[in-house]
């Protein structure tokens, strides 16, 4: 069996295992509560693994190493703070979300927001933000999936994207979030293995067979090649940019709906207590791949062991390292880990997107729930997956559009939900006007700054000084607006139960 066949066989086995979990989960899914929040019965291991594997998308395994290759340690300020960001979900929201889930019939994040603010406008706003983010996030993940398969396995891009989404649909439509959670455990385990194995191989490669010599060799070679700034504490982007990433990826972790929604699924408070610990530790093992492969590839380029990647193709750093410097069986498992990262994020997005369509929009606009929520949820999941795939295939033909899609990611969710949820669920005085203003501000600043810094391409309208992240500025602005508007508007009267839940 040649290397390519071996790798494809391992990846195919992984896909089949995901489908098998989906078949099992479909038998456990008997109600919309099962479909959206796993019957609120997830334990420590399941919730811990699901939380971290959901947050580490294809960007973590492909884009992250690419950023290290391009900007050096600047990229560390994205991945390392996110470990605490995952814990902050527990610290800032865990017990209160569990209390809301116990006291109310909550299946989606907009459900909780509507109760918190006693406002259907807030529910609708949250739903719209989630839908925008879901389509864009899913689109970029499908693009990543198709691009890796097409570039490294010589499979047609469209065919690869359709195969990947078909597998996700196969388990997410029928098994709902139960399938999502249990495939996340399986996928998370593969990702952890991939992270540790590749970290070891990367440092051993640059250390000439000695793992511990790896960092020193990188320092020596980069310094001798005049690339010292890349291995300094701020990389090539500088301190203000790096600190803005620290802010965005630490506090912003509490504004990611696909992760914080998991807190509704906790079986008990013991799960709320321990799952963030497990999630942070597991996440840290996975990002070992992120921090090591980019430097290893750059080291190989500087020492003549590999050809330099052309500008704009830095994302190929990780796949190229896997293809050329790891045994085929391990590359197969790590590529499965890469696809696992993409798929574990995609299934969560499909689930929260379906929740908006089936539960939040009808309740916010029609003022009533839909009949047969479970069937509608399955249909909605299927339709969103098809729409996102078609959107990604269309977007592939528009390079600029792919770049624009990138901004509808972490920053968009953080700018909307850090004020609306992280501040709002920790401050009773927060008002619905403040929450809606914050979401609109976050969206506008995020999109506005990004577009202004790119167009017109020959002379952009405005470039943020010191390479500070537009997403971080959007979070600062939206939090500020949330607090100021809330202080000048009168809060609505909340039910005694809501008051009790907010006091937890």
């Amino acid at each position: 069996m040649d290397d390519r066949t071996l790798m494809l066989s391992i990846i195919a086995a992984y896909m089949l295992a995901c489908l098998a979990i989906g078949v099992w989960a479909a038998r456990q899914t008997k109600s919309s509560s099962d479909f959206f929040v796993a019957g609120k019965g997830a334990g420590i291991v399941v919730l811990g693994f699901a939380s971290f594997s959901t947050i580490l998308s294809g960007f973590g395994f492909i884009g992250g190493p690419g950023l290290v290759y391009k900007y050096g340690t600047s990229s560390f300020w994205i991945c390392l703070p996110a470990a605490l960001g995952i814990s902050l979900v527990g610290l800032l929201l865990g017990k209160r979300f569990k209390a809301f889930a116990e006291l109310f019939d909550i299946l989606t994040l907009p459900d909780a927001i509507a109760i918190r603010y006693n406002s259907e406008v807030c529910r609708l706003t949250a739903g719209v933000v989630i839908l925008l983010g879901v389509i864009a996030y899913l689109g970029t993940n499908i693009l990543a999936f198709g691009a890796v398969a097409a570039t490294f396995f010589d499979i047609d891009f469209t065919a690869a994207a359709i195969i990947g989404m078909t597998v996700v649909i196969g388990y997410a439509v029928f098994g709902g979030i139960i399938a999502g959670l249990y495939t996340d455990v399986f996928q998370g385990a593969i990702m952890m293995f991939a992270g540790v194995a590749v970290f070891w191989i990367a440092l051993t490669t640059v250390g000439d067979g000695d793992f511990l010599s790896g960092p020193r060799n990188i320092t020596d070679v980069f310094t001798a090649s005049g690339q010292k700034a890349a291995i300094g504490p701020w990389g090539l982007l500088g301190p203000m940019a790096c600190l803005s990433y620290l802010f965005l990826f630490q506090l912003g972790g509490t504004g990611q709906p696909h992760t914080i929604t998991k807190m509704f699924m906790a079986r008990d408070f013991n799960t709320v207590k321990w799952s963030p610990v497990l999630a942070s530790l597991a996440y840290l093992l996975c990002v070992l791949l992120w921090v090591s492969v980019g430097f290893a590839m750059k080291y190989l380029v500087l020492t003549g062991g590999a050809e330099a990647l052309p500008a704009g193709e830095e994302d190929n750093a990780a796949p190229l390292f896997l293809m050329n410097h790891t045994p085929a069986w391990l590359a197969g498992i790590v590529f499965s880990g890469l696809f696992a990262a993409i798929m574990s994020t995609a299934d969560s997005f499909l689930n929260i997107g379906a929740g908006v369509f089936v539960r939040d929009i009808p309740r916010a606009i029609l003022k009533r729930p839909v009949k047969n929520e479970l069937v509608c949820a399955r249909v909605a999941t299927l339709l969103i997956a098809i729409a996102a795939t078609l959107f990604a295939l269309w977007a592939k033909k528009h390079g600029d559009l792919i770049a624009i899609l990138g901004i509808f990611g972490w920053g968009l969710f953080a700018a909307a939900f850090v004020p609306m949820v992280t501040i709002g669920f920790n401050w009773k005085r927060a008002t619905w006007q403040g929450a809606v203003s914050a979401a609109v501000t976050g969206l506008t600043v995020n999109v506005g700054l990004d577009l202004a810094s790119k167009y017109p391409s020959e002379a952009p309208l405005y470039v943020v000084p010191n390479a500070i992240s537009a997403g971080a500025i959007a979070v600062m602005a939206s939090v500020f607006v949330m607090i100021v508007v809330s202080l000048v508007t009168a809060p609505k009267t909340l039910s005694s139960r809501t008051e009790e839940a907010l006091d937890f």
Partner: protein
């Protein structure tokens, strides 16, 4: 009892406002000063939110102090990175094969936050959710759930 005062949130607003100022109108300020102020604001915002989320009774006092101390140390780590970077010269001693500031980033920023996770676990019953509160929630839950169809 949890404090319902607006003061902590007003502090968060002041800190985010300061960060926005640092972003847009601080070019005339020396870079290390600007960076240190930015770091103070980031740690301050997260620290205030975490402390606001802890219970305020006497049983939680020790954990409130430890969390507060933890955020102070976290800020010192950030400032150390800034200062080590400024003072490093080629030929200086490396730490773990890296510049001292980079080693501080790799080990400090990565590992120190786990002290917060440790405090969260150790102090959960005293500073996050007391058994009495959990019992109270169970009692409320037994009274039945509220539908959310009317928001």
């Amino acid at each position: 009892m949890k404090s319902n005062s607006d003061l902590p949130i007003r502090i968060v607003a002041a800190l985010t406002g300061t960060m926005l100022l640092m972003v847009f109108v601080s070019e005339s300020m020396p870079a290390p000063i600007r960076t240190i102020i930015f770091a103070i604001c980031i740690v301050g915002i997260i620290g205030v939110l975490v402390l606001k989320n802890l219970l305020s009774g006497p049983r939680a006092a020790i954990f409130r102090k430890l969390f507060g101390l933890g955020f102070l140390v976290f800020w010192v780590i950030l400032v150390s990175i800034i200062l080590f970077d400024v003072s490093f010269a080629p030929g200086d001693t490396l730490r773990f094969g890296m510049e001292p500031a980079t080693a501080m980033l790799v080990f400090g920023i990565t590992l120190f936050p786990f002290s917060f996770v440790l405090l969260w676990v150790l102090g959960f019953d005293r500073a996050v959710l007391t058994p009495e509160k959990e019992q109270h929630l169970k009692k409320l839950t037994e009274e039945g759930k509220e539908d959310v169809s009317n928001g």
